[in-house]
């Protein structure tokens, strides 16, 4: 059986989505993956770093936008740059360190040198080789045409025609304002991002974090058994859906109902709540953050987060962890997890260390939750390559919305943006993610 051309695959997805189904092929297909890299990752705004990772002049981190290696630097003038890591002379990587501080990047091959803002700065044997200086902009490192940040999160787009970041984030910006804007000093990265490779398609992880609350009490039941978690069976019942448009989807939990009416602001200690600055929140943000704050979410395409009160044991003090994570596409059946633990700038060092460790214990390469997610995701990519399933035209089932006995209609009382539902059932967020994926794959294919 010859592989179907890309447009025929996308037609299949479009047809299947009408019945809330997804063809298995999109989870492991070379053609789809190549198109995603071109149409999604080189066109959309993609997260690259948190501002706190490059606080000082000359600080840099090495990052990825899809398959592109980029340097994110704070230059000597204090500006943030996102630049291709490849030398303009022959293409060798000018930086092979994950982070550091540098006034210049010098290519190891012939010694072409660039300032930390990307400007071409010099080369060996200048007069003999080139007769004099080259134009510092024309031969500078390739810059991402758009770089901007929101609530400390730096994003870049490689598309000259990209809309402004605020427009791209849309209602997700409103969500980040509520989550990170709780305190005027904001959040910072604890340590550095942790990385590990999972033999799964990047969309599988992104989909999970749109709000797959249905898997929590089954896949992660061992945590309830050993009391590193409690109440997982209510994950869907108390789940609250926030479908924000543009492929950005979140799910929260109504902890004030699931736990007790005083369990406000995700279970943050009273001493923190007193320090939160709530006057900047609108009515819906305040209601959401107080009673049913976002637990997980995915900002299209591949940035997700989790914020949840976590334990090393339920009889030990909990800590509300916040992890941002990025699902870096490596291949059709491989992703690299980047896991940043975030802490509040106003926290004491001791509290920051405690929340970091609890965060890593639950969500990280050795995390007692995340370990099990990785292996559930890996076998999805295996069937994604199945010629048998493809020939039979088989799909994955996202049909809870049609069949659930629970009322999942949009909450008419919701005054915030997007669609809000007062249940975690329904798989609406996952479908919204894939509908947006299809739209981007179509529209950017015409450009």
């Amino acid at each position: 059986m010859a592989p179907l051309p890309l447009n025929a695959l996308l037609d299949q997805v479009e047809e299947s989505l009408k019945s809330d189904l997804i063809p298995v092929c999109i989870f492991n297909d070379e053609e789809i993956f190549r198109a995603e890299i071109e149409r999604i990752f080189t066109r959309n705004w993609v997260f690259v770093a948190h501002e706190s990772e490059i606080p000082g002049k000359g600080d840099f981190v090495l990052r990825r936008i899809g398959l592109e290696s980029v340097i994110v630097s704070r230059d000597t003038d204090g500006n943030i740059n996102v630049m291709s890591n490849h030398c303009r002379h022959r293409g060798t990587e000018v930086c092979q360190a994950d982070r550091g501080n540098a006034a210049h990047f010098t290519c190891p091959y012939h010694g072409w040198t660039y300032r930390n803002n990307g400007d071409w700065a010099g080369a060996p044997h200048l007069k003999e080789a080139y007769g004099g200086k080259l134009d510092n902009k024309q031969w500078g490192l390739l810059h991402a045409p758009h770089v901007d940040s929101h609530q400390g999160l730096i994003f870049a787009s490689l598309d000259r025609d990209a809309p402004p970041l605020k427009q791209y984030l849309g209602n997700a910006a409103w969500m980040l304002d509520a989550m990170i804007g709780l305190h005027p000093a904001g959040m910072r990265v604890a340590g550095a991002p942790e990385r590990y490779r999972v033999r799964a398609n990047w969309k599988t992880a992104a989909e999970n974090f749109t709000g797959d609350v249905y898997h929590v009490d089954y896949l992660h039941r061992s945590n309830e058994q050993v009391q590193t978690a409690v109440g997982l069976q209510g994950s869907c019942e108390f789940g609250r859906s926030y479908e924000m448009g543009n492929g950005h989807n979140f799910v929260g939990h109504e902890w004030v109902k699931a736990i007790h009416p005083g369990y406000v602001f995700a279970g943050y200690p009273q001493s923190y709540i007193e320090q939160f600055e709530l006057s900047g929140l609108d009515e819906a943000q305040l209601l959401m953050m107080r009673d049913k704050p976002p637990t997980v979410g995915t900002i299209f395409p591949n940035l997700s987060f989790i914020r949840v009160a976590s334990f090393t044991k339920i009889d030990e003090p909990p800590a509300v962890m916040t992890s941002f994570r990025q699902w870096q596409p490596i291949g059709p059946a491989e992703l690299e997890v980047w896991n940043w633990q975030l802490v509040w700038n106003f926290m004491s060092e001791a509290d920051a260390e405690a929340v970091y460790k609890i965060g890593q214990f639950n969500f990280g390469s050795a995390g007692v939750f995340e370990q099990d997610d990785t292996v559930a995701w890996e076998s999805i990519a295996k069937v994604g390559a199945s010629r048998w399933w493809r020939r039979e035209g088989k799909h994955f089932n996202f049909q809870q919305g049609h069949r659930s006995a629970v009322d999942q209609s949009p909450d008419p009382h919701w005054t915030g943006p997007g669609i809000h539902r007062t249940t975690g059932y329904g798989e609406h967020r996952q479908l919204a993610f894939y509908r947006h994926w299809l739209k981007v794959m179509r529209e950017n294919g015409k450009r």
Binding site: A97, D98, G100, R195, T228, E336, Y356, S365, A366, V375
Partner: protein, 165 residues
């Protein structure tokens, strides 16, 4: 104890530990841990200077003995997917270098290579690390008080650290 005996005792301890973990005898392994155990893997990056590789205060895991107990209990529920079925592992400990001994505690640096074939994976992962340990002499033999696992990989190629190193 002379140097040869010390080396023999330490080598036997590592070999025993490797066997217990390879055979899934977690409770027996747990009995080799000192109550004040510190068991951690610092986060490592590729940096231009070797001295900058370790990120201060950042870990893949930073466990005490109670957390190890919880991890073992979780594996033993049989419902921890990452280790159900349990990985088949082969641990090879070598390059054992005894740094010194003081007050009944011996400091040892060694290397470990773990071959891990997880569940029904067609092929396995290999985890390479240097381990900097402190082992304490007790009437019942050596006990592990501290282990710092320095992983070779900056980005792990095994999908999770569901096993002990």
């Amino acid at each position: 104890m002379d140097a040869v005996q010390l080396r023999e005792t330490v080598t036997q301890f590592f070999a025993f530990e490797a066997m217990l973990l390879d055979e899934g005898r977690f409770d027996d392994w747990y009995s080799l841990l000192d109550d004040a155990l510190v068991y951690e893997a610092p986060l490592r990056l590729a940096t231009n200077k070797r001295a900058d590789e370790m990120v201060a205060g950042a870990y893949r895991f930073a466990d005490d003995k109670k957390i190890i107990r919880t991890r073992i209990d979780r594996i033993q529920t049989g419902n921890a997917s990452a280790e159900s079925p349990p990985s088949r592992t082969v641990r090879s400990v070598s390059s054992i270098y005894i740094l010194g001994e003081r007050d009944g505690v011996v400091a040892v640096s060694s290397t470990i290579i773990v071959y891990r074939q997880r569940a029904n994976d067609p092929s396995g992962d290999t985890i390479h690390a240097r381990r900097n340990d402190r082992l304490k002499f007790t009437p019942d033999g050596l006990r592990l008080c501290a282990r710092t696992v320095i992983l070779a990989e900056v980005s792990l190629s095994t999908p999770n650290l569901g096993i002990f190193l």
